[in-house]
């Protein structure tokens, strides 16, 4: 099959292919995962100015930043979870670069999530989606559109006395996506790929447990999923090449044909 990359580039330039940015801006105040305080914590994004056309550097502006691997819009590699710890090519530096570009199936459950922050994605819901949009193809990202990215930070984090209340997939649904549909990975708008209450599921954190256990990937804190078609978008998601990194903040782009 001959591929016309020049046509591809021209289509981007002409707007025949639009680029949708699925990335949240890295800011210090964006909510991050919160664990019990006696545990190790993911670092929030922080910026320190090195110089800004001043005595510290007269003609240039630059910053140092610090950030956790799982802060902001970020990629989860299989090594992130104990179920994926011994897989080959399981860290961001060893995952083949080919894996960073893949098509997406976008499951819209924004109405259900608006009605119930603890909405759980089920196999039945996915089958219903397939009846309208066709089968979730092997090698696709499955992106959960909840419109969570449009919420205030407090509602986005959804923290209450009994933990976070945010939507996510049921264990059977993740298992089904991996085993029956052979998907590429699972992506969400929320802080994690799993539901806020997923530590009470069996197994706990099923999106992490099953996806990473089978060498699949995760994307979270995505935005603009409402601008994507149910099928047909191509996702470019290449994490930073951190030696034995478990994930990384990254720019996630979707290519959508007009």
């Amino acid at each position: 099959m001959s591929v016309d990359l020049a046509l591809f580039a021209a289509s981007i330039a002409s707007g025949a292919i639009t680029i949708v940015d699925l990335t949240q801006t890295l800011t210090p105040d964006f909510p991050i995962i919160t664990l019990p305080p006696e545990m190790g914590q993911c670092a929030p994004f922080r910026l320190e100015e090195v110089s800004r056309y001043d005595e510290r550097g007269p003609a240039w502006y630059w910053n140092n930043f610090s950030v956790g691997e799982h802060t902001g819009t970020h990629f989860d590699a299989p090594i992130h979870w104990i179920s994926g710890k011994d897989l080959p090519d399981n860290a961001v530096d060893t995952i083949p670069a080919q894996k960073f570009i893949a098509p997406a199936a976008v499951i819209d459950c924004s109405q259900e999530a608006a009605a119930d922050p603890d909405f759980v994605l089920t196999v039945a819901f996915l089958e219903n989606w397939e009846s309208k949009h066709g089968r979730v193809e092997a090698g696709s990202w499955v992106l959960l559109r909840t419109d969570w990215s449009k919420k205030s930070y407090a509602d986005y984090a959804g923290l209450r006395e009994d933990g976070a209340h945010t939507p996510g997939p049921a264990p059977e649904a993740v298992k089904w996506l991996v085993e029956q549909r052979d998907v590429h990975g699972f992506g969400t708008e929320t802080i994690g790929t799993d539901a806020g209450q997923a530590h009470h599921f069996n197994p706990p954190y099923p999106a992490h447990f099953y996806m990473h256990g089978k060498g699949r990937y995760g994307l979270q804190c995505l935005t603009n999923l409402d601008l994507l078609p149910p099928k047909g978008a191509v996702i470019v998601a290449a994490p930073l090449k951190i030696k034995q990194g478990s994930g990384s903040p990254l720019r996630v782009l979707a290519l959508v044909a007009k």
Binding site: P28, D29, P31, E49, A154, L159
Partner: protein
């Protein structure tokens, strides 16, 4: 009787802000014995170890017996105001702006006659009680106070030059998520602060006491995360020019030593909240504080550090925490030197384990957040610089003075 302080009028924006000046503050090494006492609110003079004469001003030899053994000791502060005068003209730039200024000579019951500043409620021939205070230059001075407490005593204009009274001042409490921060907000509101700004980081994270905090009179919640330079800078840009007292209540307490704790993530977080947080506050708010040191009744007046007493000697059970606190203590000493030209005091409160969740498994005695808040108000009202709150802090201080090596071993539990 002292007139009660009235709420300062809004500043005329067309008038130049008065630049802070400080009185002459040079003291001899020996005279810093008075500084040490004044910093902690004690009244001490030299007492000859050989002939028991009470000596003032500080000297290197006893004027009665020539002995060189002249330690500072607590003495009876009571005496009689034998003569008073009012200075109306002064060549000193600081006092020129503050005349008329009353001074007088006091005959102490324990012997010496000294020249002192006078509280407004003292009268010639009457009984007075002397106090050692730190003036705007940080140097020790004597002020004759009424023998018994009188109404509005703290509001005397001459005394207020030597204290950091929170009344009608605007305070920033840097972290309102903590129990200490919440107790502090309550205490400053009760002490008459005109605005109590309370910093809240990550407002999306709920915290206990939220509603009660917001219900406190004159509390204004402001977004502030002292681990985020941008957040600190932003608040300083908005409100730095109208904050007179800063109380840094940001805390980070985790058990664990230097060897016995895996990795640096927690240690970095510790340093980020406590040491770098302090530095961010100092850089963002320090210049405005120093500039506004003479800005009327609600001039900038103090920066308060809450420190573990283990800043002075490491407690290995909380070894890394102690090391961080030591860094904060050292930084506070530099801050003192940097803010002193503005007449702004850096107040350090030292305490042992607090009655909070991170010291849950530590046996009493522990200091309550309310006790820390009360001690803060007391320190500011009295113009103190170093305060030891609670039994553990007092004990560590005494044992440190007696034998630092013994204390090191004792804190290690061996």
């Amino acid at each position: 009787m002292t007139e009660p302080l009235s709420r300062p009028r809004r500043k005329n924006p067309l008038k130049k802000t008065q630049a802070p000046l400080t009185p002459q503050g040079v003291r001899s090494r020996t005279a810093h014995g008075l500084t040490a006492a004044a910093a902690e609110g004690r009244f001490e003079l030299q007492v000859c170890a050989d002939c028991a004469a009470v000596i003032y001003p500080p000297r290197d030899a006893c004027p009665a017996c020539l002995s060189a053994r002249l330690p500072f000791k607590a003495v009876d502060p009571n005496g009689e105001l034998v003569a008073e005068t009012t200075v109306r003209i002064s060549t000193d730039p600081y006092f020129r702006e503050r005349t008329p200024w009353r001074i007088g000579s006091v005959k102490l019951d324990c012997g010496p006659v000294l020249v002192a500043h006078l509280h407004g409620d003292t009268i010639e021939g009457g009984r007075v009680r002397l106090a050692l205070q730190l003036d705007r230059s940080g140097a020790p001075v004597l002020i004759a106070m009424p023998a018994r407490d009188v109404p509005n005593m703290a509001e005397d204009v001459q005394l207020r030059e030597m204290t950091c009274d929170p009344k009608f001042r605007r305070v920033l409490i840097t972290d309102g998520r903590t129990q200490v921060g919440q107790a502090m907000a309550k205490a400053f509101s009760a002490a008459g602060a005109s605005i109590v700004f309370v910093g809240i980081a990550d407002a999306w994270k709920p915290f206990p006491g939220d509603a009660a905090l917001k219900a406190i009179e004159r509390v204004e919640i402001v977004p502030l995360d002292i681990t985020d330079t941008e957040s600190v800078t932003e608040l300083a840009e908005q409100n730095g020019g109208r904050i007179d007292i800063i109380v840094n209540t940001a805390e980070y307490t985790r058990p664990g030593g230097i060897v016995e704790r895996r990795g640096l993530v927690v240690a970095r977080q510790e340093m980020d909240v406590r040491y770098f947080g302090l530095m961010r506050l100092a850089q963002a708010f320090g210049p405005a504080l120093r500039f506004r040191g003479a800005d009327g009744v609600n001039s900038a007046t103090a920066f308060v550090n809450l420190l573990s007493v283990h800043a002075l000697m490491n407690w290995p059970a909380f070894g890394a925490h102690s090391a961080t606190e030591a860094a904060c203590l050292s930084a506070s000493q530099a801050m003192r030197a940097e803010l002193r030209p503005g007449g702004v005091k850096v107040v350090n409160l030292f305490f042992g384990p607090t009655e909070t969740e991170w010291f849950q498994s530590v046996p009493p005695p522990k200091v309550t957040p309310a006790a820390i808040a009360k001690a803060t108000i007391d320190a500011l009202t009295r113009g103190l610089e170093d305060v030891f709150v609670g039994d553990v802090a007092e004990d560590v201080r005494e044992r440190l003075a007696a034998n630092p090596k013994a204390l090191e071993r004792e804190l290690a539990g061996s």
